[in-house]
């Protein structure tokens, strides 16, 4: 609990000192954790951080409606920190004020260089979940036809709500490929073929950039 108290007081301090005009973090709503946008130091008390904070907050840093309220400080667990590194390397983010958190630990207020050092030092060995590799091994053992059937079943669930795109800090194109309709590159119907194209192209666009944060 001490960790949360320090986090809240640091957030309030940033706002009072004017180093940030907006702090993006998590707050509790019922049993869920939803994003919190705090601009009043007195309201820093709503901020929380625990295991249930799954959303990748780095997604908000590219949004114009958030940027105009800046400078922004962001509460970042390791997954979000890695997204910040990706955005910085793609020159989408020049600087950041980061309240770095980890599992039951608060690392303090850092800038981008500090985040890079912290990731290297403490979170370099963070590997994707083992189930992911198991699933991949299973897929690799299949024949092409079995793979096609597997993905057909997977894509059948997709309703093309584009929540995956909205949740992803890597998906920041102002005009996404699915919205380019002259010609209609990717069918926007939530049917087998369009879903296939959409997920393949999204996966391709994320190749080498995905931080496996799991937000999507």
């Amino acid at each position: 609990m001490e960790m949360i108290a320090t986090l809240r007081s640091d957030a309030a301090k940033l706002l009072t000192e004017g180093r940030a005009k907006l702090v993006i973090g998590y707050q509790a709503r019922g049993t869920r954790r939803v994003p919190a946008f705090v601009s009043d130091p007195a309201k820093a008390g709503v901020l929380v951080y625990d295991d249930q904070c799954k959303q990748n907050l780095a997604v908000y840093l590219r949004k114009p409606e958030v940027r105009v309220k800046g400078p922004v400080a962001i509460i970042a667990p390791p997954a979000v920190m890695r997204s910040l590194m990706v955005l910085a390397s793609e020159t989408q983010l020049a600087e950041a004020t980061v309240l770095a958190v980890g599992k039951d630990v608060y690392h303090g207020v850092l800038d981008l260089a500090g985040v890079a050092a912290l990731l290297k030092e403490k979170y370099a060995d963070l590997a994707p979940p083992k189930e992911l590799f198991d699933a991949l091994a299973k897929l690799n053992a299949m024949s092409p036809d079995e793979r096609a059937r597997f993905w057909t079943d997977q894509f059948a669930k997709c309703t093309r709500c584009y929540a995956c795109r909205a949740a992803c800090p890597g998906c920041y194109c102002l005009r996404c490929i699915v919205e380019r309709n002259v010609p209609q590159w990717v069918s926007s119907a939530a049917a087998q073929h369009g879903n296939y194209e959409w997920h393949v192209i999204r996966a391709f666009h994320q190749a080498g950039r995905c931080t496996l944060c799991g937000a999507c």
Partner: protein, 156 residues
């Protein structure tokens, strides 16, 4: 892009003729194909050539579109490394292709349907050989599964 039907009757046994879409660059492979033609070299007519300024212009979506519209295989060919008319376009293409090929394979498009090659403007014979080779390989594995999600099917 108007292909809404896929032929399901074709089999390897019944004189299957593969449809191969070749994305080639203007400066090397297209000139190589031209040389093969002007030199009266014979190669199978199964290849449909799409000329682009550079292999770096090839969006992975082009390849998806080719499979969607009925291609049995896709060939991408451009200038040799170091010879790109635009300095580095073929390097971009190579990086994209190596990832995209793996991705397509993972989603159920057999890697044997995806070809990459370098053919220079002086290599008419190599182009003819390449097309013969690709056509034979695709003919051996048969037509692309019409039920594959990469194929577009009529709206139901």
């Amino acid at each position: 892009m108007a292909h809404t039907e896929t032929k399901t009757t074709e089999t390897a046994a019944a004189g299957f003729q593969p449809r191969i879409v070749a994305f080639v660059c203007n400066w090397c492979t297209y000139a190589g194909a031209d040389l093969a033609g002007t030199s009266r070299m014979q190669y199978p007519p199964n290849v449909r050539i799409v000329k682009l300024p550079c292999t770096g212009r090839i969006d992975p979506l082009f390849i998806l579109k080719a499979f969607e519209g009925g291609a049995d295989a896709v060939l991408v060919s451009g200038c040799h490394p170091g010879d790109c008319h635009y300095t580095s376009g073929n390097y971009h293409a190579r990086r994209r292709w190596s990832i995209f090929r793996r991705l397509l394979d993972l989603t159920g498009i057999d890697e044997r349907r995806l070809f990459f090659s370098w053919v220079s403007a002086a290599e008419g014979a190599k182009f003819a050989d390449l097309i013969r080779d690709v056509t034979a390989k695709v003919a051996a594995i048969g037509s692309f599964e019409p039920a594959n999600p990469a194929r577009r099917r009529p709206w139901k």
